[in-house]
């Protein structure tokens, strides 16, 4: 009798199976015995459905660092095999199997003696899915355009491309503790980067005739580390060596100039005159670094004193052959463009020295002294080039490539007094000195700071941590022309006036008064409830030294950052009112403000015009609000769980620019150029909401259903609807890529089997 399996049959079989499973007695412990060994683990299989999936052109932000395929997927598999006495074990775990962002790890070891590990991690980075690129990559890193060049307008209808790269990281380590006081570790990490990312090639004068292209990424980083630690009860000694090697399979990128040809392509205007056919830009050169480190600590018998010290030496080398000055054949045969030497003989050596002592002269008093020295010495050759070729297009007088050294020293002294069981007071002073080379404006800067901190537990349920830290940075002198002298540019008064404004004080070197306050309160009324409000405030007031008062107003005037204010306030909550319910939530508001002043400085007749009324001020403000939260609830404990989580982040950036005085001193055209232009605000918002219900049955199985909503919205006039060719913006060509808004609704189901 031939049986035809029909729909009813299938349903009946499933019903029978379901009934059988539900009434089957609860199985015993799920580990699988294998003689003296046990096997445990879990595996999951899922499927993803999109109710609303972003279109391809809108996936850039959605899949920026992850892969979200629809259909079946394997979220994770974990296996652990171990001897029943736990002496030996091995674990294997893999997540996101088969996806671009998959990762795996293997661990094996003898508990307390040695451990071997291997990790494999793929990190995708998707920059855009809507770039428009007309050039063809005829060979790796050479982007060619047809000859004759198409009209610039044609770039707007170029094929759409994705721009992405992927990092594949393989890491292997072996860690052994042959004796209780000796630990040895060796580790090797290889990061392989492949893909492309946005890049540029310029062919013309400032802002003109540049072509946004791709940077080919074919790079490898090898990182090899070995280390040893000897540790006894009263002293510890560590030694280590690191070799880091960076390899770039490519040394240059070439691209054809969109504005080359006679007749010039439509849209190029005068930029085509004298334009080179092709440009070539260097890519990061191969380099390597050797670093040797010795650390140690010893406990002394007096006053519970502990000394720590560290010495580290690093040698960074780079000696890749230079490219020629230019790929433009119009300059071939010019002897002034012969390279003085083949390569840099790049040699940077750094020294790090740390010394610290912590001591307890009194039972409730802890004294801490620290000193730190970081010395960066650039011993590479200083090479003099007689001539440069700017953008493969024009010749310019050459200069020396200066080397830039610096040294940073820090010293700190703190005293902490446990005034009472619930009150601790800390006070301290600190010092930071930067000693920069002759190639920077400020030879010596010293920053002194004070610190006052209090940790109070006024009642058992409340902990308050408050820190106030003012600091004052003062400099020896500000020499605007030091970088020019470092490049051996002749002391030409006319040239000097075309250089950096003597009114500028760069914010990383300028004198500064800083006020900083940090507050954290931790409220734990019960063991299961914790509320942590935090707040911080930082105010930087930049000063002018030497004082400048060009307008004779009796008021110091300088250009650069004038002041910066940042403050943040937030709260984090974690609460489990009952065992089966847990709630987390948090909110943060961040505000960053910076006031900068600059001056429009046109050049007329070889001289820079320094009109006071050409000054402009920008107030730059970024505010970010972030909210996150989650609830986990065991509807039926150990049978039915439900969880929901969400996050929201909104950022607003504003640049408000104005002229303190209306520009009137120049020609009409110069005045217009000096006038402040409005800058529309830009904003972005990310919302994510995720909920899932999990049903646990037969102790080992879990079936989950979930829903995820995600939305990204951005308004940024600088990239919204940016076309490769913007006629009013000149002859330059952009990729025209944009992080487009998206909304996604996703459903998923996962079945998981656990045998532990």
């Amino acid at each position: 009798m031939r049986v035809t399996v029909r729909h009813e049959t299938i349903l009946a079989a499933l019903a029978g199976l379901a009934l059988a499973l539900l009434i089957t007695p609860e199985p015993a412990r799920a580990q699988i015995p294998l003689g003296d060994w046990r096997l445990e683990g879990e595996a999951a299989l899922g499927s993803r459905f999109f109710i609303d999936e972003p279109a391809k052109s809108r996936r850039s932000k959605w899949e920026e660092y992850r892969d979200f395929p629809g259909g079946p997927f394997v979220p994770d598999v974990q296996l652990r095999i171990f001897r029943k006495d736990e002496s030996y074990s091995a674990e294997f775990a893999g997540t996101k199997w088969g996806q671009t962002d998959q990762e795996y790890s293997l661990r094996a070891g003898r508990l307390g003696l040695w451990e071997f590990g291997f990790d494999w991690d793929q990190i995708p980075h998707l920059y855009t899915t809507n770039a428009r690129f007309l050039a063809t990559e005829v060979s790796r890193g050479y982007f060619a355009l047809p000859t004759p060049r198409p009209a610039l307008e044609a770039h707007n209808s170029a094929p759409t491309i994705d721009i992405r790269q992927r990092w594949d990281t393989a890491r292997m380590f072996f860690d052994i503790t042959p004796t209780p006081d000796l630990r040895l570790k060796a580790e090797y990490t290889r990061i392989r980067k492949d893909g492309d990312r946005p890049f540029s090639m310029s062919f013309g004068g400032p802002g003109n005739n540049f072509y946004e292209i791709l940077e080919p990424i074919e790079q490898t980083i090898h990182d090899f580390r070995i280390g040893a630690t000897w540790a006894r009860k009263t002293w510890q000694l560590q030694a280590g060596y690191v070799l880091s090697v960076f390899q770039n399979d490519l040394d240059a990128v070439r691209a054809d100039n969109p504005c080359f040809g006679a007749p010039a392509p439509a849209g190029c205007g005068g930029d085509a005159t004298g334009a080179p056919a092709t440009g070539r830009t260097s890519l990061p050169p191969n380099n390597m670094a050797h670093t040797m480190t010795v650390n140690g600590g010893v406990n002394l018998p007096w006053w519970r004193t502990r000394l720590t010290g560290n010495f580290s030496y690093s040698l960074q080398l780079q000696n890749q052959d230079f490219l020629p000055h230019t790929i433009n054949p119009a300059f071939s045969g010019n002897p002034a463009l012969d390279l003085p030497q083949k390569s840099l003989h790049g040699n940077v050596q750094t020294i790090l020295l740390n010394l610290g002592v912590v001591t307890r002269p009194l039972r409730d008093v802890t004294l801490s002294l620290k000193y730190r020295l970081f010395d960066y010495m650039d011993l590479s050759d200083e090479i003099n080039f007689p001539l440069f070729v700017i953008d493969d297009r024009t010749l310019q007088a050459g200069s020396k490539a200066p080397r830039k050294d610096y040294q940073r020293q820090n010293a700190d002294a703190d005293v902490r007094w446990q005034a009472a069981t619930s009150v601790a007071l800390t006070t301290g002073v600190g010092w930071e000195r930067w000693d920069r080379s002759k190639s920077r404006e400020v030879p010596i800067s010293d920053e002194l700071y004070a610190k006052a901190a209090v940790d109070v537990t006024p009642i058992e349920e409340v902990l308050v941590r408050l820190t106030y830290r003012p600091s004052f940075r003062r400099i020896s002198n500000y020499d605007t022309l030091a970088p020019q002298r470092g490049q051996s540019i002749p002391e030409d008064p006319a040239a000097n006036t075309r250089g950096q404004s003597v009114l500028l004080r760069k914010y990383d070197e300028a004198e500064r008064n800083r006020q900083r306050v940090d507050l954290m309160v931790q409220v734990t009324p019960t063991d299961t409830l914790s509320i942590t409000p935090t707040a911080s405030y930082i105010f930087d007031d930049y000063l002018s030294k030497p004082p400048v008062d060009p307008a004779g107003t009796g008021r110091q005037e300088f250009l650069g950052v004038q002041e910066a204010v940042g403050w943040t306030a937030g709260v984090d909550l974690s609460w489990s009112p009952v065992e089966r319910l847990s709630i987390t939530a948090g909110y943060t508001h961040d505000s960053f403000y910076r006031k900068m002043e600059s001056r429009s400085r046109p050049v007329v007749g070889g001289l820079a015009l320094d009109f006071h009324d050409f000054d402009w001020i920008s107030n730059i403000t970024d505010t970010v609000d972030t909210l996150y939260g989650g609830v986990k609830y065991a509807i039926i404990p150990r049978v039915l769980d439900w969880g929901v989580s969400g996050s929201w982040s909104y950022a607003l950036g504003r640049i408000e620019t104005r002229n303190p005085t209306a520009p009137v001193s120049g020609t009409a055209a110069l005045n217009l150029s000096a006038r402040a232009k409005p800058v529309p605000a830009f904003e972005d918002e990310l919302i994510r909401l995720e909920t899932a219900v999990a049903y646990h049955f037969l102790k080992n199985w879990t079936l989950s259903f979930g829903y995820v909503f995600e939305s990204f919205q951005k308004h940024d006039w600088r990239t919204d609807k940016l076309n490769p060719f913007v006629p009013t913006a000149g002859s330059s060509i952009w990729l025209g890529n944009d992080l487009r808004n998206y909304t996604a609704h996703t459903l998923g189901a996962v079945i998981r089997y656990s045998f532990r």
Partner: protein, 335 residues
């Protein structure tokens, strides 16, 4: 219309289906029931049961893990699944580890004599939020074994100086996180309990892949203490970044001074609302330090003359090798 022949067929198919379901029960029984009867498993020191008491005599005042287990079976069960639990209960290497629970909590005789409960806890370190034991003393217990590796520079490090207990970040008694015995499922949530702003920064549009699970706080930081500011892993902030971004290390023929001194002069590694995690929008970022003549000095906005300097990636449209250039003509980082 449902015929007699159709009713017979349906009934037969249902029987076939039911038989198939019963077969599944038999298969399930074979797979799941047999292991439960394996005698070896009952004798194994499987998770959830404390190891048999060692024959070594206990020091005075100690009662042994079996005694603790009699009342604290749930806690012991959870602890036995942890790395420390597996070692203490199954592979102790020293007398201290053989003490099991009491190696950390202290001698339990007084607690047992008092019949358990709070009065008898006065000699014990509970490591709970309301434990009256000074934090320093609690931490000393952990540092007895965990003083090497990353903890060599714990003394007066940023967290130690503020009396942060080890149990503020770590949960020893059960597995909450996949690794490192953290109090919350992920490092970001654990560190974010106090560093609320840094946790929020991960949600900004330009960020490193921390919220995607590809990086963690300890990818860059050593919370137990280090010799660099901000508890970084490497000798300097830049060396920290070069570990993954070694292409920026150079040295280059043409160096950009603020780059070699600190990546943080321009970038916020925790996240930013500006592209590439920049601290300030371009071109203003660059105009803070560049007041040479002509195009660096103009107050650009949305007018047509400004567009080529502000659209897309602004200054880096031309000055592409902004981190440094090895090109002979790359002094302005355009090559």
């Amino acid at each position: 219309m449902h015929t007699h022949r159709g009713r017979v067929t349906s009934r037969r198919n249902f029987v076939v289906g039911a038989i198939a379901g019963l077969k599944a029960v038999v298969i399930a029984a074979v797979l799941f029931a047999v292991p439960s009867s394996a005698p070896a498993q009952k004798d194994a020191a499987a998770p959830g049961t404390a190891a048999p008491a060692t024959p070594t005599a206990l020091p005075p005042g100690y009662v042994g893990a079996d005694t603790c287990n009699a009342c604290h079976e749930d806690a012991s069960q959870r602890f036995s699944h942890t790395r420390m639990g597996r070692r203490f209960l199954h592979q102790p290497r020293s007398q201290a580890e053989r003490l099991g629970c009491e190696s950390c909590h202290g001698p339990g005789q007084a607690h047992v004599d008092a019949g358990g409960g709070s009065p008898g806890k006065r000699n014990l370190i509970t490591f709970g939020k309301k434990d009256p034991t000074p934090v320093e003393q609690r931490n000393e217990v952990c540092l007895t074994c965990h003083s090497t590796g990353d903890r060599v520079f714990w003394a007066n490090s940023a967290h130690d100086a503020r009396n942060v207990p080890c149990t503020g970040c770590h949960r020893v008694m059960e597995n909450v996180s996949p690794r490192h015995q953290l109090v919350r499922p992920t490092e970001l949530e654990t560190c974010g309990t106090c560093h609320v702003q840094k946790r929020a920064a991960q949600l900004r549009s330009a960020h490193m892949p921390v919220r995607e699970g590809k990086m963690t706080c300890t990818s860059c930081h050593i919370p137990h203490g280090s010799l660099t500011q901000a508890l970084l892993k490497e000798n300097s902030p830049n060396d920290n970044c070069y570990r993954c971004h070694a292409e920026k290390r150079g040295p280059f023929l043409w160096q950009h001074a603020p780059v070699i001194e600190s990546c943080m002069n321009c970038h916020d590694p925790h996240g930013s609302n500006h592209e590439r995690m920049l601290t300030v929008a371009k071109p203003r970022l660059c105009q803070q330090c560049h007041v040479e003549t002509q195009h660096p000095t103009s107050p650009y906005g949305r007018d047509s003359a400004s567009l080529k300097f502000v659209l897309g990636r602004a200054c880096v449209n031309c000055h592409i090798n902004i981190h440094g250039s090895n090109h002979p003509s790359g002094f302005a980082f355009t090559r």
